[in-house]
């Protein structure tokens, strides 16, 4: 029997579009997970990552400044300016640790995050 896989991303409504400042971030809570969501208006893109900066394990990334490094969208942790790619979560300072990213979409002024348990 043939089984066709169907994309079944479950989307969770976490915020209203206006809850997130333009070119900035906000933090949402889902169950016990803290997630940073970013409204990258300059690029017309939205991103979601873990809120914890893995460097000193602080719940802070949503308060980080966003921008780009050679066109890669990134967030800089306010504590020690560790940079992470918003696309892949990769550490852009060449260090080991990286951050988790989540699928995110905005529909009719509602912000949804996917990939949550």
């Amino acid at each position: 029997m043939q089984v066709t896989s169907i994309e079944t991303t479950k989307w969770v409504l976490v915020a209203k579009e206006e809850d997130v400042p333009a070119n900035g971030g906000s933090c949402v809570m889902y169950k016990n997970e803290q997630i940073a969501i970013f409204n990258f208006k300059k690029r017309d893109e939205w991103y979601a990552t873990q809120n914890m900066c893995p460097h000193k394990k602080q719940m802070i990334l949503s308060r980080g400044m966003i921008g780009d490094k050679e066109c890669e969208p990134k967030v800089a942790c306010p504590y020690h300016k560790k940079n992470f790619s918003l696309k892949t979560g990769e550490n852009l300072n060449g260090e080991e640790y990286s951050i988790k990213t989540y699928p995110i979409k905005v529909e009719a002024g509602n912000v949804y995050i996917g990939g949550l348990e």
């Binding site: 976490v14 070119n23 394990k57 719940m59 308060r63 306010p78």
Partner: protein
């Protein structure tokens, strides 16, 4: 008279012996029968100097005290009879020889044993531990039939063991698992120096070696390492660390640490309050103290407590100085400073085999620790400086270099540092490394330096210095210096500021769209935000996402994600009513209170959602933002002045308040501090400020461009004996000229050091108005003064701005990860990641 209580000490090592000595000293033997059990055949001996057993000392020489000392002092000593069981219910111990003795108090001084790694073949003949005199006898007799010996372990004891093998005439090798020797005491460079010194004595050092197996028919003939290499040898001495002997405690149900060690509290009691543990068997606050001095201190604490005292043990300073195979090695305070912000200075002389490093607090005032290899004669002085928190001289490098001639000393700035000066302490990159990377790799920007040397990739604190070194190095090689803001703006700060002024652009987005490229970053956003604020003086939160986090939330972020709040207290003058108001608010929100260096009160531990509530109450009580979070005017400190002081010449407090009121809220390339002193005694320390004023009998002296901070620098005299109005005029011009021309994040001192022509040129511009811009600068400043508004009042009164002060946008709960612990009747955040 018969004594009723037995005090049993399990273990007769150095610390167990010291315990006896302290008990005698405190006359505890009047109350207790002291009974000691030792596992070895000899009474306690000096394990620290064990290797001297090979260079002539006898076992008797090494004894801490002969057996009859115990007898003379009424102590019962059972040797060769280790305790094998504790019956806590019956409060009785049982020894290996079957003695059953009751106790009312028990001290476990079981010490540690040699950690024997589980390597296949470790049981073969010729593999011997290095711990006891018996071990040494074994080593001695085995060495007699060997030519070559290997020590496993490059720590303190391992190197001692290597010396022993060398003294026995063997070809000696040391194998260390870590990438450096003495990894607990020395940093990388210190360890390299030590390695070179030891190798020059014909001891071979093999680092990064993970021993996979020990081969040989019955007895060892060679070692095989994980990297495939091999080392032939006749014998192996194992000294790869210690393992606390906690089996007895474990079996009797006392709490032990996950990696061994008997858990003790501040009184060194185990989880059974009648049982203590001291020395290397005790685990205090997660730490095993593998040195003799803290072990002795522990013995003192327990003896004191048994004698009815209340002394407690506290985390012990692990500073040590020793001679290893003839090489002086010392390490004091925090030798690495990997956890705290600091700067460090390094001196290295390869030909003489000397390495010295001192770690200095980021404010530049205190010694935090250091490492000395090859020359430890400064150890005591440095240790004292560190322990007593003595304020360092403005040139702390003198600590390890000694003062060096006056004439060539440029005296200031990163350029005057020696090549060996460590610029990036996170990545261990020296000035020499950076300058040669710039020259030989044709680097043209800081990003290149970061990529090439890794400097500036850690905490980032050295980036302004990298910039200066880049500029100086390029200049020296005749290249054009490119001081662009970052990859998004091809202009220097001065050029961007000129663009802002001439075009009237008021937002970052517009500036980026018209004059920049890409999406911006954490370098250009706050830099532009500062320039916009210094030019248009609009409320910074109208563009909140381009502000650094402190400016975005108008408070100072601290460990754990909470913020601190500093209300403005101009000149440090405050009424009792206002003090009470601060106290009431701090109490209500449970804030940690600390008096700052600038005569203000800092309130710590406020959650982001509490900030507007706290400020609502502070404003109600008559306070304004203190801008402690901004690159802006902080505080104008003052001495009490002529109103009260019998020496005071003028009213320094009133002048300080006037100045603080005038420049409050002014945003600049970096923070600004000021002070006013009422006489030459200079109690307000005005010469350590960005601008400082000192009363003279004819008027006021104005000093500029001093600072404390990372590299303290005295302010320079700009004008003398001037009146108040002239003083304010000059300050207006000075501050605006600084704001116009400085690079981002350069304090006034750094700016002056780089200003061509120095203070004389500055005097010309400010006092003589040589550029003809004096009036314009004054006008610009007057605009800033006239448009000042309290940022916090603005937020408190604006519901849409208040709304942003929340941790979650989809929940009203506070960040549940914020945790505090108690300290001296207040609170503090838990450590990073705890």
């Amino acid at each position: 008279m018969k004594k009723l209580n037995n005090l049993v000490i399990v273990g007769n090592g150095m610390v167990g012996y010291k315990m006896c000595e302290k008990l005698i000293e405190k006359k505890v033997q009047d109350e207790y029968n002291i009974i000691v059990f030792g596992g070895e055949a000899r009474p306690a001996y000096d394990r620290v100097h064990l290797s001297e057993y090979f260079s002539g000392k006898s076992a008797e020489d090494l004894l801490m005290a002969p057996a009859n000392w115990y007898k003379e002092n009424g102590i019962t000593l059972y040797l060769n009879d280790p305790v094998v069981k504790i019956d806590r219910e019956k409060k009785t111990i049982i020894s290996s020889k079957g003695q059953s003795i009751s106790y009312s108090k028990l001290v476990l001084a079981t010490g540690s044993s040699c950690f024997i790694p589980s390597i296949p073949g470790i049981e073969k003949d010729g593999v011997i531990a290095y711990r006891t005199i018996e071990d040494l006898d074994d080593i001695k007799s085995y060495a007699a039939k060997s030519k070559k010996g290997v020590v496993i372990g490059g720590g303190l004891l391992g190197l001692e063991a290597a010396k022993a093998l060398m003294d026995l005439g063997l070809e000696t090798h040391v194998v260390e698992f870590a990438p450096r020797l003495m990894p607990r005491q020395l940093d990388e460079k210190g360890a390299i120096m030590l390695k070179e010194k030891i190798e020059s004595l014909n001891i071979s050092i093999h680092l990064n070696k993970n021993t996979k197996s020990i081969d040989g028919e019955g007895k060892v003939t060679k070692m095989v390492f994980a990297d495939g290499s091999e080392l032939e040898t006749d014998m192996i001495v194992v000294s790869a660390g210690i393992k606390p002997r906690d089996e007895l405690a474990r079996e009797s149900g006392l709490e032990v640490g996950p990696r061994g060690g008997i858990v003790v509290n501040d009184l060194l009691q185990t989880t059974d309050p009648d049982i203590y543990s001291i020395g290397e068997s005790a685990l205090y606050k997660g730490m095993i103290y593998g040195l003799v001095a803290p072990g002795y201190e522990m013995a003192d604490v327990v003896a004191n407590s048994l004698a009815g005292g209340s002394k407690t043990f506290a985390p012990y300073d692990m500073s040590t100085k020793l001679k290893l195979i003839g090489v002086d090695v010392a390490s004091f305070g925090d030798p690495f400073c990997s956890e705290q912000e600091h700067q460090h200075i390094v001196y290295e002389d390869k030909t003489k085999g000397i390495y010295k490093r001192v770690n200095i607090s980021s404010c530049g005032n205190y010694l935090l620790g250091g490492v000395l290899v090859g020359d430890a004669k400064d150890y005591n002085m440095l240790l004292q400086t560190y322990k007593n928190a003595i304020i360092l001289p403005p040139t702390p490098e003198d600590l390890i270099l000694g003062p060096r001639g006056g004439a060539e000393s440029v005296g200031s700035g990163v350029l005057s540092l020696p090549d060996a000066a460590l610029i990036c302490s996170c990545e261990n990159v020296t000035k020499g490394d950076i300058c040669s990377a710039v020259t030989y790799n044709n680097l043209e920007d800081v990003a290149g330096i970061k990529k090439c040397t890794k400097a500036g990739t850690g905490c980032g604190g050295c980036v302004p210095m990298l910039n200066d070194l880049l500029t100086a190095t390029l200049k020296a090689s005749g290249k054009e210096v490119n001081k662009v803001l970052c990859e998004h703006f091809g202009y220097s700060r001065q050029e961007v500021l000129a663009i802002i002024k001439s075009t009237g652009i008021k937002t970052y987005d517009e500036l980026l769209a018209k004059y920049g490229s890409g999406d911006g970053c954490e370098v250009c956003k706050p830099a532009v935000a500062s320039m916009l604020a210094s030019t248009w003086n609009e409320m910074i939160l109208s563009q909140d996402t381009i502000q650094d986090t402190n400016d975005r939330f108008l408070a100072n972020i601290q460990k754990g994600g909470t913020y601190s709040v500093v209300p403005r207290i101009p000149g440090g003058e405050i009424t009792p009513e206002k003090l009470i108001a601060i106290g009431v608010i701090a109490k209500k929100y449970d804030l940690y209170c600390k008096i700052t260096g600038g005569q203000r009160i800092d309130l710590f531990g406020a959650r982001v959602d509490e900030l507007p509530l706290i400020w609502e109450e502070l404003i109600e009580a008559g306070f304004e933002s203190g801008h402690a979070y901004g690159k802006s005017l902080r505080t104008v400190k003052s001495c009490v002045g002529s109103t009260w002081c019998r020496f005071g010449l003028h009213d320094s407090v009133t002048f300080a308040i006037e100045i603080e009121e005038r420049y409050k809220g002014l945003r600049a390339p970096h923070k600004l501090k000021s002070a006013v002193s009422g006489c030459v005694r200079e109690c307000a320390e005005a010469q350590g400020k960005d601008f400082g004023i000192i009363a003279t009998d004819k008027g006021w002296n104005l000093y500029v461009c001093g600072n404390g901070g990372a590299k303290p620098q005295h302010a320079k005299l700009l004008a003398s004996d001037i009146d108040k109005e002239t003083c304010i005029k000059y300050i207006d011009r000075f501050l605006m000229f600084y704001i116009r021309t400085a690079e981002p994040l350069n304090r006034t001192s750094t700016w002056l050091n780089k200003l061509e022509g120095g203070i004389e040129y500055l005097k010309d511009v400010i006092v003589n108005d040589s550029l003809g811009i004096g009036e314009q600068l004054e006008m610009e400043m007057q605009y800033m003064v006239d448009t000042y508004k309290c940022e916090w009042k603005d937020v408190v009164e604006d519901p849409s701005k208040r709304k942003r002060f929340t941790h979650f946008v989809n929940s009203t709960i506070a960040d549940p990860t914020i945790k505090f612990q108690a300290m001296r009747d207040q609170k503090k955040p838990v450590e990073w990641g705890a």
